[in-house]
């Protein structure tokens, strides 16, 4: 089956150009280069119709940038983006508009994504009206039905965002995304800022909407607990690359990559009391200057000489389970053998 959306070798770099003084200095022989942030490097990703794909990783790993590239907000520096099997770069204007509407994004902080000077009715109703999905006279009813669907009282549709609580504002963001009848929703840390009890309400709403409207989600989060609950498949990123991807059950039960293993072990749980922490050393390196070979090798407890020389490829290690680790090339040292023991 053709995936709903697919990225092949997706790469996104951010370049800071030189200012006048630096250009002058370089002309005079100083060793100054442009600074390039390697946010996303050669990512292959495919999301199938109807599934929830969880994308996890720590701050600065490039998961939000990848989400924005897939949502069509940021053009990729390199690589192909395919929508229903067709290259987005080659789409006609009309088809590209259709794809833009079909992929919607919900952000972490609704206060910075909702215009504070607009009323809820305009925040939710403007896009479908402009794109001709509803007639001007029907906007009021349309917005009311959307608000009802996401659990907001339609009587509040003439209010401003600041008159709502954090959880309600996130519901406004969800209603706004739904207003243009999307197929794929990219949720970027959409429940991370919410209190536990409110977070559970919003997660339930996401799952209900998925069934009612046949939605597909790319669910980006640093919270492994939430991702474990909601996802069908999971991918984990480290310094711009996907290092492991698998079905959710497999991912959490039999992680392969040493980074995944370490991250899952450090996840605080209410079941572990006064436990010993065995943190992985160091911090995520700067994407300005990624280490050679496997980017995780400076922190990896099982690093070998080859790890600092060659970049490991993402290879299958089990059914529908891919991992990028040199240990998999040495059967005696398979990383999974440690977790199984």
């Amino acid at each position: 089956m053709t995936p709903l959306i697919e990225g092949r070798g997706l790469t996104r770099r951010f370049t800071r150009g030189l200012d006048v003084a630096e250009k002058l200095a370089r002309a005079l022989g100083a060793n100054i280069r442009e600074e390039v942030v390697h946010a996303v490097e050669g990512v292959d990703i495919a999301i199938r119709q109807g599934e929830v794909f969880g994308l996890v990783g720590e701050s600065g790993c490039g998961k939000s940038t990848l989400g924005r590239v897939l949502a069509g907000i940021l053009p990729p520096t390199d690589g192909e983006l395919l929508w229903r099997g067709r290259d987005v770069a080659g789409l006609s204007r009309a088809d590209r508009l259709e794809m833009r509407l079909a992929v919607q994004m919900i952000f972490q902080d609704p206060m910075s994504s909702l215009n504070p000077r607009k009323r809820v009715i305009d925040l939710i109703g403007e896009a479908p009206r402009v794109h001709g999905l509803v007639r001007a006279g029907e906007v009021d009813d349309y917005v009311a039905s959307l608000m009802q669907r996401v659990g907001l009282d339609p009587a509040y549709r003439r209010r401003y965002p600041h008159q709502f609580s954090g959880g309600q504002r996130q519901r406004i963001g969800i209603a706004r995304a739904l207003a243009v009848r999307p197929k794929l929703i990219v949720c970027d840390e959409s429940v991370s800022a919410l209190d536990v009890s409110i977070q559970a309400q919003v997660i339930n709403l996401f799952m209900d909407l998925r069934e009612e409207l046949d939605l597909t989600y790319l669910f980006i989060s640093h919270d492994l607990g939430v991702v474990k609950h909601i996802s069908d498949r999971v991918g984990i990123m480290y310094l711009g690359r996907v290092v492991e991807t698998a079905g959710a059950d497999d991912f959490f039960a039999a992680p392969n990559h040493p980074y995944t293993v370490a991250l899952l072990k450090e996840l605080p749980s209410v079941k572990d009391r006064r436990r010993d922490f065995t943190p992985i050393r160091g911090e995520i390196p700067s994407p300005l200057d990624p280490p050679p070979g496997c980017a995780f090798h400076p922190r990896c407890p099982r690093a070998m000489p080859v790890c600092s020389a060659d970049l490991p490829a993402l290879k299958p290690v089990a059914a529908a389970h891919w991992s990028a680790c040199h240990l998999n090339d040495m059967p005696a040292l398979r990383p999974a053998s440690e977790t199984a023991a």
Binding site: E58, S59, S165, G166, G167, D195, V196, S197, I198, Q199, A200, Q201, I203, N204, M207, H222, L224, G225, V226, K228, H229, I230, A248, D249, A262, L263, E266, L267, P268, S269, V270, K271, D272, R273, R274, R275, D276, F277, T278, P279, I280, R281, E283, I284
Partner: protein
Amino acid sequence: MVAVLQVEGLQTWFGTKDAPVRAVDGVSFSVARGEILGLVGESGSGKSITGFSILGLVDPPGRVVGGRVLFQGQELVGAPPETLRRIRGKKIAMIFQDPMMTLNPVLSIETQMVEAVLAHDDTPRAEARARARDALGLVGIPSPEERLGAYPHQFSGGMRQRVAIAIALLHKPDLIIADEPTTALDVTIQSQILFEVRRLADAFGMALVWISHDLGVVASLADRVAVMYAGRIVESGGVDDILDRPAHPYTRGLLDALPATARRGERLRPIPGMAPAPTARPSGCAFRTRCFAAGPDCAAAEPEPTRAGERQWRCFHPLAEAAA
């Protein structure tokens, strides 16, 4: 056992006399030497204001209107500013969620740390500098000698929080109040910080009040837990009692809402509704409008604390599992 910190009926209100906002409304707890107390609650429950009130850090219009804060037997509520100044940073230290609340962005780490040492101790500068360096090493900052000269913006978020903790440790305080210190950090960095904090608390016998909304973090760190809702501690006790056999329906609700407790794909069980605004709390028990166990008696009066061994709760209908 003598408590390092004893808080009794603490009330911190905001707003005007006619319409007070009761952010903290009768909070009582105590922390013993070497003990880690997890103070848990959702946004707006008053947990941070409780922490600020202990150190007299609440800014007007907020004010402590009632209750006592006894630190090693000494009353801190209404104590003269000079007394509080001698205790803050020396005997009681505070760590904030955002380390930039502690650090001055335009001064080097060395300047700030040496100043913190000299604020309380009359030592030669070189010795103060050595203490600063040792404190940085203690919290796991590599090559502390060189890092002393760096400025806060040259550190990552996790390293900045380590510096803030190092400053808190400079005087080997008897009590540390930590307000969501790892909330903004990644899992691996959070784990590193929790590891260091646990090690240091054990080594120095410090008492620790760890304020957090994250039950997972509190479970893995704390000896005892106090759960706050709407300005009050609704339940407190040993970490196993509270998390395995909660007495208060609110604690049960928080635990049930965690994604980890449901199976994948199953619906989560959130607490219905949302926390009431502090100006519009229901009569009687503030949680009754969201509570599955509430009866008519819950609206009539506020539940007083019920004691059972080491734990206590404020509820007319405590869950049966707590008694077992």
